[in-house]
């Protein structure tokens, strides 16, 4: 059964019915686009200023994380200010934003304007942004900083005591419950990401209910063929809860329809986009599950590398959804020490069915950046006897031993 091909079959009559033609049309109208989200708990803030795509000039690429990546058609040399409308001690203060240093080669500026919120931003404070382009176009917008009287983050019966608190989660038993007591907040954005790879998004949900729950055994049915486990045992996840103002609420909940062109709720004057604000807090989740597969459990890696002892403990959990007849995927917590120091991370690996090989990798942050450590060995022995593994850091390979802890 290959159910995903149904879409092709279903669409065949309509595909046959569609005659596609492409013609050149005159350039449209350039519109100033301003996008800025003020995060109350962050020091550095920024404003994106760019022109809409009108077909007059070719837009450049835009990266996956911006900033630092620039917009396609940055407006450089603009005069951008943020005014504190009050209340608070900074009422009346106007910060002039500095354009970020160049990122795109060949471009003088980036279209990203930065400022540091040296004045404390409290819930209820109002800010006004004003951007004036070299061509004289002016775009303005205001936001009211949101906040919360409290966050109730619970996993099972355990409630987080403070931001960045670590909560253990049994994915087959527990439910993550998030509640917010809002203070001038309109909605809530929930993000759950791999703690070590934040671009790996497990949950990105937006709701105005200010309360939501996620069962530990939740499946994302749209990822992979047959769904993907949202909370994989053996992983650390970073949970971020952001309460938002009404501008950001409208910015994220509305889109312009691709046929009628209508739908987006714009609260800016003189341009399109958003000037919104959020308050974000984060917590750490350590997801576990009962270990029933004979290959699951704790493994001890020991030996010497670069003249330093290696003493790492892997706590391995198999993921049912990510496995097939040739390979079994797993995740594992890594605790211990080796030549880069103390490590407390999680990583992913795979057992290969044919050769009984094991591959496992985890990332370590160092002052030089993120380094990827790989453990590889065969055949895997689950009886408690030691078996050899390679422990590699780029091209630096070390021979170690690994054994399952009874």
């Amino acid at each position: 059964m290959r159910p995903r091909r149904w879409a092709l079959l279903l669409s065949l009559p309509l595909v046959g019915a569609c005659e596609l033609t492409e013609t050149t049309v005159p350039p449209g109208e350039s519109v100033v686009v301003l996008q800025s989200i003020v995060s109350r708990t962050r020091g550095e803030q920024w404003v994106f200023l760019e022109y809409s795509l009108a077909g007059a000039v070719l837009g450049g690429p835009t990266g996956s994380l911006a900033p630092p990546q620039s917009p396609r058609l940055p407006i450089t040399g603009a005069f951008v200010t943020v005014e504190h409308l009050g209340p608070g001690v900074c009422q009346g203060r106007r910060d002039t934003l500095l354009e970020a240093p160049l990122v795109t080669p060949g471009a003088l500026h980036s279209g990203i304007y930065r400022w540091n919120a040296s004045c404390p931003l409290e819930p209820g404070h109002r800010l006004r942004v004003r951007g004036e382009t070299p061509a004289g176009e002016v775009v303005t917008g205001t936001t009211t900083i949101p906040g919360a009287n409290g966050y109730a983050i619970r996993v099972g019966t355990t409630q987080a005591a403070f931001p960045l608190d670590e909560l253990g989660m049994n994915r087959l038993r527990d439910t993550l419950r998030i509640g917010v007591d809002p203070l001038l907040a309109r909605a809530m954005q929930i993000e759950v990401r791999r703690a070590e790879r934040q671009e790996d998004v497990a949950i990105y949900v937006f709701t105005d209910s200010l309360g939501i729950s996620f069962a530990g055994n939740l499946i994302n049915p749209f990822e992979s063929d047959g769904g993907e486990t949202v909370f994989r045992a053996g992983r650390y996840y970073l949970l971020t809860v952001a309460v938002t103002d009404s501008n950001y609420y409208d910015f994220i909940r509305t889109r312009s329809d691709p046929i009628t062109g209508r739908g987006f709720l714009n609260h800016l004057e003189g341009g399109v986009g958003v000037f919104g604000s959020v308050e974000a807090q984060s917590w750490l989740l350590a997801v576990r599950a009962p270990q029933s597969d004979p290959r699951e459990g704790q493994y001890h890696i020991e030996g010497n590398a670069r003249g330093a002892p290696v003493d790492l403990l892997l706590d391995v959990y198999v993921d049912e959804l990510a496995s097939d007849s040739t390979s079994t995927h797993f995740s594992a917590f890594v605790d211990g020490e080796f030549y880069l120091g103390t490590v407390r991370r999680s990583g992913d690996g795979v057992f290969l069915s044919g050769t009984q090989e094991l591959f496992f990798q985890f990332d370590v942050s160092t002052v030089d950046g993120v380094r990827q450590m790989v453990v590889r060995g065969a055949p895997v022995v689950t009886t408690g006897a030691a078996f050899p593994v390679e422990f590699s850091d780029a091209n630096d390979v070390h021979d170690l031993t690994m054994r399952r802890v009874p």
């Binding site: 005159p26 109208e29 769904g227 062109g261």
Partner: protein
């Protein structure tokens, strides 16, 4: 307002009584009363709309839908009764002296094209010209529906799209706009019961099995007082009665679906007809491959009727339809729940109508239930959108003097709606949106078909409506007039006020209608209102050519469209109101008899809408000129041929002036991490697509084989393969920018087989 309206309703009741007293004729000396029925042919099926008259006198009447008539003032002595009617040959009979009732078995005027009886409706139309003042009415019969080339198989709503006054925005929807109105302003009745969303497969096909339909009356404006609920049109579909003599099986196999229709007599002297239809592509694909097509639609339709006493009848109509798309995304296990992507929707309908003689008149009672349900989601519990619209109704209508100079109808009705929306995630223990609307409509009406003089027909009417939940009560006067210059040439006109208690919040600018999202009037949602003014002429030549020209002007108040800025926490802001108007004219030339039959319809419309802030724009259905030519004629190789050519002047659309990167913010990284390109729209509907045209040809053969009748057919849709634009997509990322057009249906050959045993 409320008190005033209640008073008005009371006054209306008094007015009705007064009028009844006023029109009650004095008993005539030397005359008698004659009751009768006109039945057609060997099936003895009632003939409605037939005209009966006493030769040499002014005594005349028309039959109702049961074929019954009542003549007062029939002179004593030997008389001859003349009759003529739809689908029957005109003739005369001698009245028995000793009886005051008569049953006329008329010779049927039809061509048997099994499985349904194909009837021409010219006689009914011709008599309607003489008898009825009502304007803006067109009747289509089973033959019209079946012979009009359609997409894959005959479709009653596709035929309606070709009638004067209608605009079909594209090939992919059975929705239609009537005289500048939106698609949600069309009331579609199946044996008198409204159907909320009569479409399958994303609006591509209608829910009605064309072979089960006897015919339809399509009213595009100025409709009489008995009709209400929508602002722009009424499509009154009637199911066939079923074969009264023997069991009959018929069916069809097309590229779309297979269907079977069974009909025949039932105990108690009644008849029954029932049919089932289902698409089968999913089953064929499952048989011949490992692929899965997780979609099908199916429907059941049926009607039974029994005679009650000598002149009464009871009929029960039912319909059930379902579209189902279910795709398993995640299979269940001990540690995880099954997840299906599911989208299903459908209509259900059950209605009963009884007609009983009461005194010299006739009482018609109707009760019915109709609903539409839809579920979309990741089921069973991840996230789901549930929507339903329900209607329970009951009505009573009394015709005290059918067939008299005043044919009065007095009625009252009650409609109870409920619309419900819920978006929730049981798995996430959260509810995103909930809304419920429960309007109740109380109505009373008075309607008089008044044959004032030989040259003047009037149809005054008044309808009172009250919706307590919306604090609404109002009177809706209606009038139609027909003034004859000659027996075959008349000036016509009508005017009326119409209310609509339920609306669709679907964006009417979108070109596709999967289904409408209905909401009902309450304290926040207003009742829609439209005033119609119609004037025209009607001319017949040689009793076979019909020409009509009607000009109209309509106003629209309290139209609504979805409010994208609505706050889910606030009830009543889900929409914004619109006003507007439309004017235009419709021209119809129709030949009812002869080897080449059909019609030419030309409609001219100009429609405008205004938001509350005064911004005015042409709605997306503002097509200025629509021409449809529909012909039925002998075809090659002994076939019967149906030809349809349609032309539509350009429809408006909203051009885009650019695009922007709508970014996605990561609160974790405090940065934008993704984006989606979105259009920046220009002025609403300030540009227009190219003109539309399409030629369809269908051929049908009849072969007697295996003791039955086989009818293979072959159709070519869009014969000259014109690339009619469906919509445009713009790309402003590159330089220069480009526009991509997506076309409507290309040349599409289809075929199938109908059979009857």
């Amino acid at each position: 307002m409320y008190i005033t309206a209640v008073s008005c309703i009371k006054r209306l009741g008094a007015l009705v009584v007064c009028l009844l007293l006023a029109v009650e004729p004095a008993a005539a000396q030397g005359t008698r009363v004659l009751r009768g029925r006109v039945l057609a042919g060997v099936l003895a099926t009632p003939v409605s709309g037939a005209r009966v008259s006493i030769v040499g006198s002014n005594v005349q009447a028309s039959t109702d839908t049961l074929g019954a008539f009542l003549l007062r003032g029939v002179p004593l002595g030997l008389q001859r009764l003349a009759y003529a009617g739809p689908d029957i040959h005109p003739d005369t009979v001698t009245l028995p002296l000793s009886l005051d009732t008569i049953t006329i078995y008329a010779r049927q005027r039809f061509v048997v094209l099994a499985p349904v009886t194909v009837q021409d409706t010219f006689t009914g139309r011709r008599i309607g010209m003489s008898e009825a003042a009502q304007t803006s009415t067109m009747s289509i019969g089973a033959a019209d529906i079946r012979s009009t080339p359609g997409l894959l198989e005959a479709d009653v709503l596709r035929t309606v799209q070709l009638l004067p006054g209608t605009v079909a925005r594209n090939d992919y929807t059975i929705g239609y706009n009537v005289r500048g109105g939106e698609t949600d302003q069309n009331l579609i009745l199946l044996d008198g019961i409204p159907v909320f969303n009569p479409s399958h497969l994303g609006g591509l096909f209608s829910t009605f099995d064309a072979n089960a339909i006897a015919g339809a009356n399509f009213l595009t404006g100025g409709f009489p007082a008995a009709y209400s609920g929508r602002l722009s049109s009424v499509l009154d579909l009637r199911l066939r009665d079923g074969n009264a003599d023997e069991m009959q099986w018929s069916g069809q196999v097309s590229l779309l679906a297979s269907k079977l229709l069974v009909e025949g007599p039932i105990p108690g002297g009644g008849t029954a007809i029932g049919g089932a239809r289902r698409t089968y592509a999913d089953q064929i694909i499952a048989l011949v491959s490992s692929e899965v097509l997780p979609y099908y639609f199916t429907d059941l339709i049926g009607r039974v009727q029994w005679p009650l006493g000598r002149e009464g009848a009871l009929q029960v109509t039912g319909y059930w339809g379902r579209d189902d798309l279910t795709l398993n995304l995640v299979s269940g296990s001990n540690t995880r729940d099954r997840v299906d992507l599911a989208f299903n929707w459908g209509n259900r309908l059950l209605g009963a109508e009884t007609r009983l003689p009461v005194g010299s008149g006739r009482l018609t009672a109707r009760v019915g239930y109709s609903d539409f349900t839809s579920t979309l989601g990741l089921l069973p519990d991840l996230v789901r959108f549930d929507n339903w619209a329900r209607l329970a109704l009951g009505s009573l209508e009394w015709r005290p003097f059918p067939g008299h100079m005043h044919d009065v109808r007095v009625g009252a009705g009650l409609e109870r709606y409920e619309m419900f929306y819920n978006i929730a995630s049981p798995e996430l223990e959260t509810r995103f949106f909930t809304a419920r609307y429960q309007p109740t409509v109380q109505a009373a009406w008075f309607d008089d078909e008044w044959r004032a003089t030989w040259w003047l027909r009037l149809r005054p009417g008044l309808r009172a409506e009250r919706i307590p939940g919306a604090a609404f009560a109002a009177l809706a006067p209606r009038v139609a007039v027909k003034a004859f210059v000659t027996p075959t040439f008349a000036f016509t006109g009508s005017a009326g006020r119409y209310f609509q208690p339920i609306h669709s919040i679907r964006d009417q600018e979108l070109p596709i209608t999967i289904y409408e999202f209905w909401i009902g009037a309450d304290g926040n949602v207003p009742v829609g209102q439209s005033d119609h003014l119609v004037a025209g002429i009607e001319r017949w030549i040689n009793s076979e050519w019909e020409f009509t020209l009607e000009g109209y002007h309509k106003t629209f108040r309290n139209l609504i469209t979805g409010n994208r800025a609505e706050d889910p926490r606030v009830d009543g802001d889900e929409f914004v109101t619109l006003e507007g108007e439309a004017w235009g004219f419709d021209v119809l030339a129709r030949r009812h008899l002869g080897s080449v039959r059909g019609w030419v319809a030309w409609s001219v419309t100009k429609a405008t809408r205004r938001f509350a802030d005064g911004v005015a724009f042409p709605p997306a259905h503002d097509r200025r000129h629509t021409i449809n030519i529909v012909l039925q004629a002998p075809g090659p190789l002994g076939s019967e041929m149906g030809v349809r050519w349609g032309f539509g002047s350009p429809l408006p659309y909203t051009p885009f002036i650019g695009e922007w990167d709508h970014r996605q913010y990561s609160a974790t990284a405090h940065a934008f991490e993704d984006w989606s390109r979105e259009p920046i729209a220009g002025a609403i509907n300030s540009a227009r697509y190219p003109a539309y045209s399409r030629l369809d040809v269908g051929l049908r053969w009849s072969v007697e084989k295996f003791g039955g009748l086989l009818q293979p057919y072959f159709q070519l849709v869009n014969l000259y393969n014109r690339h009619n634009v469906f919509l445009y997509f713009f790309d402003y990322v590159g330089a220069p920018p480009t526009r991509t057009g997506v076309s409507q249906l290309p040349l599409l050959p289809t075929f199938g087989l109908e059979f009857v045993f």
